[in-house]
């Protein structure tokens, strides 16, 4: 029962996290910041706006992106197979990339290209993460992983690699070149408007839920450790976001593939020997 409720309210939960994050970010810059419920005000406003449809496929792919992401979050909450979840999440990213390529805007194309490159960089880390959990727990099932004790120490290097992935997925500096509002005006989301942009906006919230749920897997059955981990990573990511500049796409791929995959490989090799 509680799982069904969690799944239904996952976007709202993500919206609250996003709103809280905007407040935290403003406070870090010594500003007052928007109210906590600001994302929902934005949402109501977007329902009320006229929406331009560039072409039907573009809009539908945007909605599909949101729906698949919701399915991903649902599977994580229900305790599905981690490897399936990683690939289903890849499918949702593919939808938004296709949407970006389906219109004629150059910014949209650049955004899609960058999104593809970013996916290329972080996907190996996510796959290695699930392999690491498999070697430790003997199963890809999230429900099994949740019952075991915390795996943060045996998977510490993979945890560090995962920390590199978080800013890419949440579109935070230094790894936000695929969105880059000042440069390519949001990349793939540029041609969405009105209700259809709202789906993209809510997909962004679901991305928060997905990433933090993955993070909680490291804590296993230790709830206190999980809460501590989530809060610590939340503040770390925002601190880094506020204090660093954006890196170029080439460097993003080099850093994440170079450091992330090396750390992951070392960890997996180590697990194989123990």
């Amino acid at each position: 029962m509680i799982e069904i409720l969690l799944i239904l309210f996952a976007p709202i939960l993500g919206g609250l996290v996003y709103g809280f994050e905007r407040v935290v970010r403003a406070r870090m810059q010594n500003r007052q910041g928007p109210p906590l419920l600001q994302p929902f005000y934005d949402m109501y406003k977007l329902i009320d706006k006229q929406s331009f449809i560039v072409n039907p496929y573009h809009s539908i792919l945007g909605v599909m992106h949101f729906l698949t992401l919701w399915a991903v979050v649902a599977f994580v909450i229900l305790g599905g197979n981690l490897l399936y979840i990683v690939f289903l999440h890849l499918l949702s990213v593919i939808f938004i990339i296709l949407a970006g390529f389906s219109v004629n805007s150059i910014y949209s194309h650049i955004g899609s290209n960058r999104e593809l490159l970013a996916t290329l960089a972080y996907e190996p880390v996510l796959v290695m993460l699930s392999v690491g959990f498999f070697m430790l727990n003997g199963s890809f099932d999230i429900s099994v992983i949740r019952e075991h004790t915390s795996s943060i120490f045996p998977l510490f290097l993979l945890f560090l690699a995962f920390l590199l992935v978080i800013p890419i997925k949440l579109k935070k500096s230094p790894f936000d070149a695929s969105e880059a509002h000042q440069e390519i005006v949001g990349g793939v989301e540029i041609e969405f408007s009105g209700v259809f942009f709202e789906f993209i906006y809510m997909a962004k919230w679901l991305e928060y839920v997905f990433i933090y749920l993955l993070l909680l897997l490291f804590a296993g059955n230790n709830i206190i450790l999980g809460a501590g981990l989530a809060v610590a990573v939340f503040f770390l990511v925002n601190l880094v976001d506020n204090s660093t500049a954006r890196v170029k796409m080439v460097h993003l791929v080099k850093i994440v593939l170079g450091i992330g995959v090396t750390l992951g490989m070392l960890n997996l090799l180590g697990l194989g020997y123990v």
Binding site: Q38, V185, F192, S193
Partner: protein, 177 residues
């Protein structure tokens, strides 16, 4: 059923366009978004994307080069929307009035809802202007508003649509009237 219109003024997203201004006013607009004045506490985001914004902040007198883009950006914004002319240039032409390459204010091309005077207008005035604009935004309907001087027919060069000469020149007869 709650009233969605109420939420319009809680999340105004801004599109800022420089129609040939001297950058004095643009710097003041950026100052509004800085920590000191912090426009974001009203939910304002500077999106830079016409398809997702509600408020169109225009600075500068309209130069010949910027007219088509001004009208183009205006038509790309979904309704309901509000246009705010920031600075004396955008209102009347200011010191550039009657120069050979400049129009007298943006209201020759698009309907303006709020005029914010000053050369350069101060951040406090701009915030007042935006807040006034929000009141107007609440009353607007989703009816399309037409720019005054829309395009003449766009020409095609080598199969590519060219809008460069599609705005009317000053004093030119409007075939649509």
């Amino acid at each position: 059923m709650f009233d969605l219109k109420k939420y319009r003024k809680k999340s105004p997203w801004i599109l800022h366009y420089n129609a040939g201004s001297c950058n004095g006013c643009d710097i003041e607009i950026l100052a509004c978004l800085s920590p000191k004045y912090d426009l974001e506490r009203f939910g304002v985001i500077n999106t830079g994307n016409p398809k997702q914004s509600d408020i169109f902040l225009v600075t500068g007198p309209v130069t010949f080069r910027t007219r088509e883009r001004l009208v183009e950006l205006y038509t790309q914004m979904p309704e309901p929307k509000v246009v705010i002319a920031v600075g004396s240039c955008a209102c009347t032409g200011c010191v550039f009035r009657d120069m050979y390459n400049v129009e007298v204010g943006i209201d020759r091309y698009i309907p303006v809802d709020v005029y914010v005077p000053g050369c350069a207008s101060s951040p406090e005035l701009i915030i007042d202007g935006v807040v006034k604009g929000l009141e107007i935004l609440e009353q607007k309907t989703k009816e399309m508003e037409k720019p005054f001087k829309l395009f003449k027919e766009a020409t095609t060069d080598d199969g590519i649509v060219n809008r460069r000469h599609s705005a009317l020149k000053v004093g030119e007869d409007d075939a649509k009237d």
